[in-house]
Amino acid sequence: MARTCLVVDDSRVVRKVARRILETHGYAVVEAADGQEALNACRAAMPDCVLLDWNMPVMDGITFLRNLRQEFGPENPCVVFCTTENDMDHIEQAITSGAQEYIMKPFDEEILIGKLAQVGLL
């Protein structure tokens, strides 16, 4: 069965780019436009991996992550942040809140795929 990735980003363009890359590498992709939608999606069907933007309306990425970990435990799904926030404070906050990896936008196929390989999801 194909691995699933939930792409959480308020930009349709970013979701589309990520989807294209992930699908080329055999992933089935689900999209969410904010943290609340993402949480609902996880409750409906847990993905293998979440690609997570930080700044979004309704519920931001870090709040989603904290809720997710509280509800479903520390390990699964694997969460990879993918955001324009590129300072050490944000990175540390993300990792201590339970993200496994961190991508600083802009990203390309090589970076996304490389990070997924690093967390053992390729």
Partner: protein
């Protein structure tokens, strides 16, 4: 419009590159000359590559010749490139070396075409992570490259956002880098573990000393067979009987030199042929 590159001018470049750096270029690589030498043409106020070739034919063009050679190098590198060799180093080579060497004897590691330094620093990170087993053992990492600009970059240890996302786990970014204006700077702790020097692989390698571990990756691909053989044989002469050589994904010793033999069951890792004949060594530990 500039004149097309004459055969004679092409030969000037091809010969220069072949003798100075080992780089072999065919006629199909004229576009590479054009793109990579454009800034030298501009700086020197030359109309085209023919004019640059003219200049190179004359004595006293040493400085420009060197710039041309360095401009033609391919410097792409990234942290933990291909991952496997670094895993092998960490889990096999390092523990075995620590067991095989007397505590007072320094272990020496060579990144033989270190470019902007990612390979050498990846090794330094592995050592830093293994601090507790290494204790106060002395381990030296030497990175060498022909290109002065790359050696300088490696010494500075500042990488772009793009570069720190290629191959580098975020945990290591957090532990070993600091963000500053121009990018991400590697910690002084890691910089102190690595020494970068300007060195040509075609020259005499013996002054570099002995190396237990050699990473010579993604550089032999640019050389012709005799040059590959020469560099590999000179490298073998720097290594103790149980030394290990790591090559890039598209490189091999097979059909090039009998000095090295692949380790059984490993890709890209080689031991000296004399000792490889005595059986698999890396997994044998200290029997």
């Amino acid at each position: 419009m500039t004149a097309p590159l004459s055969n004679a001018a092409f030969d000037v470049f091809a010969n220069l590159l072949k003798t100075r750096s080992g780089l072999v270029i065919g006629q199909d690589k004229v576009y590479l000359l054009e793109t990579r030498l454009a800034s030298i043409l501009k700086r020197e106020g030359l109309a085209d590559l023919n004019a640059l070739a003219d200049k190179l034919r004359h004595l006293g063009a040493e400085a420009i010749a060197r710039d041309v050679v360095e401009a033609m190098t391919t410097n792409e590198s990234f942290f933990f490139r291909d991952d496997k060799p670094f895993q092998h180093f960490k889990t096999q080579a390092l523990p075995r070396l620590l067991a095989a060497r007397a505590p007072g004897v320094p272990i020496r590691i060579w990144s033989a075409a270190s470019s902007s330094g990612q390979e050498a620093y990846s090794l330094a990170m592995i050592l830093a992570e293994a601090r507790t087993v290494i204790g106060d053992r002395k381990i030296e990492i030497i990175g060498t490259d022909l290109a002065r600009e790359q050696v300088a970059r490696a010494r500075t240890g500042v990488y772009s956002q793009f570069e720190v996302q290629r191959g580098l786990p975020v945990q290591f970014l957090m532990r070993y880098f600091k963000k500053e204006e121009g990018g991400w700077r590697i910690s002084d702790q890691l910089r102190a573990m690595v020494q970068f020097r300007e060195w040509n692989l075609l020259g005499d390698l013996r002054p570099l000393g002995k190396f237990d571990i050699v990473f010579c990756r993604n550089v032999l691909i640019y050389f012709d067979q005799p040059t590959k053989a020469k560099v590999l044989e000179a490298t073998a002469a720097l290594m103790p009987e149980d030394g290990l050589l790591y090559l890039g994904g598209a490189e091999t010793v097979l059909g090039i030199t009998a000095k090295f033999a692949p380790l059984a069951g490993e890709r890209g890792v080689y031991g000296l042929a004399t000792s490889a004949a005595h059986g698999p060594r890396v997994t044998a530990g200290v029997a």
